[in-house]
């Protein structure tokens, strides 16, 4: 079935679908019930499913994230919503020390089928404590799977995939995407975790990105195409595991790499991707790899500063031109 809806509605759709189908699925987090969710994803769900399954938690990120782990160990399929990625740092002990480690340190006895959703990214003038992009950081941790849905389809599908996964999955929903409309097809099976998607084929540059920057990358590709620069845009979808195969195949075709990452450059997922290309496809490169990342500052409040800090369509276009000039 095809329908047009927003990204937010697609996530909600997936939650409703899952909760209707499986009694063990429940949603827990700050303001997910009576308020309707910090980003209104769970609007109306309390009325539909009741307070036993749509659980408003106190401002106790560590406790309710840990409770998600315990419940998952106890046979439930919890979806833990953390309002924004910055707050997830309060739960880092549970996410890192417990969620990611349990299966391994128990010698394979205890897997944790936990789904954690959180809003990520800047662009809404929310300042330095509500605007960061730390998904690349989480991708550092073995034991976790890190998903970054860009499309309305993936906003839905990734939750479906995460709930079907036996291990902890973190989903990062970019705040600028919630209102984006798109088509949701519920008949085709979702593209698996760990598979990147080529959003646009091209022969000159491989542009690797994820989340909201796929949108900016596609805009940039459109502008560049008028100049005769043919950009291939890859939506990574999953930052852990990374789809090395799709990346390397594209690099082997275009010989030029541009990565757009809303994280900071230093120690970022873009750095990791570059390292992998270096390891696996060095002799395909015809120019130094380039990237557009967030400026190395806490995200400022003032709009012009915030916009200057974040990757923009224009900066992507400019970097693509540089890349072409270099080869």
């Amino acid at each position: 079935m095809n329908s047009t809806l927003t990204y937010r509605e697609a996530v909600r759709h997936a939650i409703v679908e899952a909760m209707e189908k499986d009694q063990t699925v429940f949603l827990m987090g700050e303001d997910v019930g009576h308020y309707g969710g910090g980003y209104a994803v769970s609007m109306g769900l309390l009325e539909q499913f009741g307070s036993e399954r749509i659980i408003d938690t106190p401002l106790s990120e560590s406790a309710f994230t840990g409770a998600g782990i315990g419940a998952a160990l106890g046979g439930m399929r919890p979806i833990v919503e953390i309002m924004t990625v910055n707050f997830s740092l309060l739960a880092l002990d549970q996410i890192m020390n417990n969620t990611a480690n349990l299966l391994h340190m128990s010698g394979g006895q205890f897997n944790v089928p936990l789904v954690i959703r959180m809003a990520t990214g800047g662009g809404k003038q929310l300042g330095a404590q509500h605007s960061h992009s730390l998904e690349g950081w989480y991708a550092h941790i073995p034991g976790l799977k890190i998903l970054t849905p860009y499309s309305v389809q993936d906003a839905h599908d990734m939750l479906v995939l995460a709930l079907a996964d036996p291990d902890p999955v973190l989903i990062f929903e970019h705040v600028l995407l919630y209102n984006k409309k798109g088509t949701l097809n519920t008949d085709t099976p979702p593209l698996a975790i760990g598979k990147a998607k080529i959003e646009r084929t091209g022969k000159d540059i491989t542009l690797i990105t994820y989340g909201v920057n796929v949108l900016k990358a596609l805009e940039a590709a459109q502008i560049l195409s008028l100049e005769g620069i043919d950009v291939e845009v890859i939506d990574l979808r999953s930052l852990r595991p990374l789809d090395d195969k799709t990346i390397m195949a594209s690099v082997s075709k275009t010989h030029r790499v541009l990565i757009v990452d809303e994280g900071w450059k230093s120690g970022s997922i873009s750095a990791e991707i570059m390292a992998r290309i270096n390891e696996q496809a060095f002799f395909e490169l015809d120019a130094p790899m380039r990237r557009v990342c967030t400026a190395e500052v806490p995200i400022p409040y003032a709009s012009h500063l915030e916009q200057a800090a974040l990757p923009q369509t224009e900066t992507i276009v400019a970097m693509a031109r540089t890349l072409m000039e270099e080869s």
Partner: protein, 316 residues
């Protein structure tokens, strides 16, 4: 309480005592490495509480958990093998002393971040409640955990959600080397729990009879659907924080004083007919067997290093 029960409790405490003494020996011989936190002196708490549980109940413990694992019924062989880092260990050598796990006995570790186990225990109890399983989750932690935010977050959730959970605070007076009075404005921990509207009692953790009876009663209440209970057990560790430390933070006389309250001695005083010689003999055999089992254990292939990161094979 009868002689049979006294014999059982004595035997379990003795097993923990002798097992850990063997651990010290094996640590000295470098068979066991890493941190080794000994429970010697505190045996009455784990043994008394576990006695109140049935086989379906869930247990979360800390890095000082050899005693809890043994009292819970995890076989000494895989525990010793785990300390040896062998693949026959209860965590396949992936965990070590601080991370004993056992699915069969619902023993969830072995969580070595202070207070880290509390939120998970909350979740476990929550799942029991949501799935309408009549079982109890017991969560052990030290008095040092009280200083962490997760402690308060978790107690609040337990009370708020009316969860079937038993909090067991093993108050041995020292968080590593810092005495409780230096870190808490209110040193009566049971009062803190009570402030969350949790039924809370302070008991003598050196008296296994009292621990067992209190646990029996509280677990019965929890099963009856009366919500969480908090037991503060006053206890003492006879040995250093981890294997050896200089113990600069406490007086030798204080240690000697507490040793007068040794739970094994205490129980024997109450039940002089306990057949100590018989228990010693049998336990010596069990421990010899555990050492032999661990010695004969095999090392997991390094080829399998990256196993158990995900349930199925996933490229990084």
């Amino acid at each position: 309480m009868d002689l049979d029960l006294a014999n059982t409790l004595y035997r379990e405490m003795l097993l923990i005592r002798r097992f850990e003494e063997k651990c010290v020996e094996m640590y000295s011989k470098e068979k066991i490495r890493g941190f080794l936190h000994l429970y010697i002196g505190e045996e009455a708490v784990a043994v008394g509480v576990m006695h109140a549980l049935n086989s379906e109940d869930a247990v979360f413990a800390t890095y000082r958990e050899h005693g809890h694992a043994l009292a819970r019924g995890v076989h000494p062989n895989p525990i010793m093998a785990e300390l040896y880092g062998k693949e026959q260990g209860c965590s396949r050598g992936r965990g070590g002393s601080m991370h004993l796990f056992d699915a069969k006995t619902h023993f969830y570790g072995g969580i070595a971040i202070v207070t880290g186990g509390l939120p998970m225990a909350i979740g476990m109890a929550l799942s029991d409640k949501m799935m309408k399983r009549n079982r109890v989750t017991v969560c052990f932690f030290g008095e040092g955990a009280v200083a962490e935010g997760e402690f308060h977050e978790s107690l609040n959730l337990a009370a708020l959600w009316h969860l079937p959970i038993l909090f067991v605070c093993e108050n041995n007076l020292y968080a590593m080397g810092t005495a409780l009075e230096f870190t808490q404005s209110e040193t009566n921990i049971s009062l803190k729990a009570a402030s969350y509207r949790i039924t809370s009692t302070q008991i003598d953790g050196m008296n296994v009879t009292q621990v067992a009876e209190s646990a029996q009663e509280t677990v019965r209440q929890i099963r009856a659907g009366n919500g969480p209970v908090f037991l503060e057990c006053l206890t003492y560790r006879f040995r250093a924080h981890s294997m050896y430390d200089a113990e600069l933070y406490r007086q030798k006389s204080e240690v000697e004083e507490w040793k007068q309250k040794d739970p094994l001695v205490r129980l024997h005083q109450d039940w002089p007919t306990i057949n100590i010689a018989q228990h010693e003999k049998e336990i010596a055999q069990i421990i010899d067997d555990a050492v032999e089992f661990a010695e004969n254990g095999t090392l997991e292939s390094v080829d399998d290093l990256e196993k158990f990161i995900y349930s199925s094979e996933v490229a990084p």
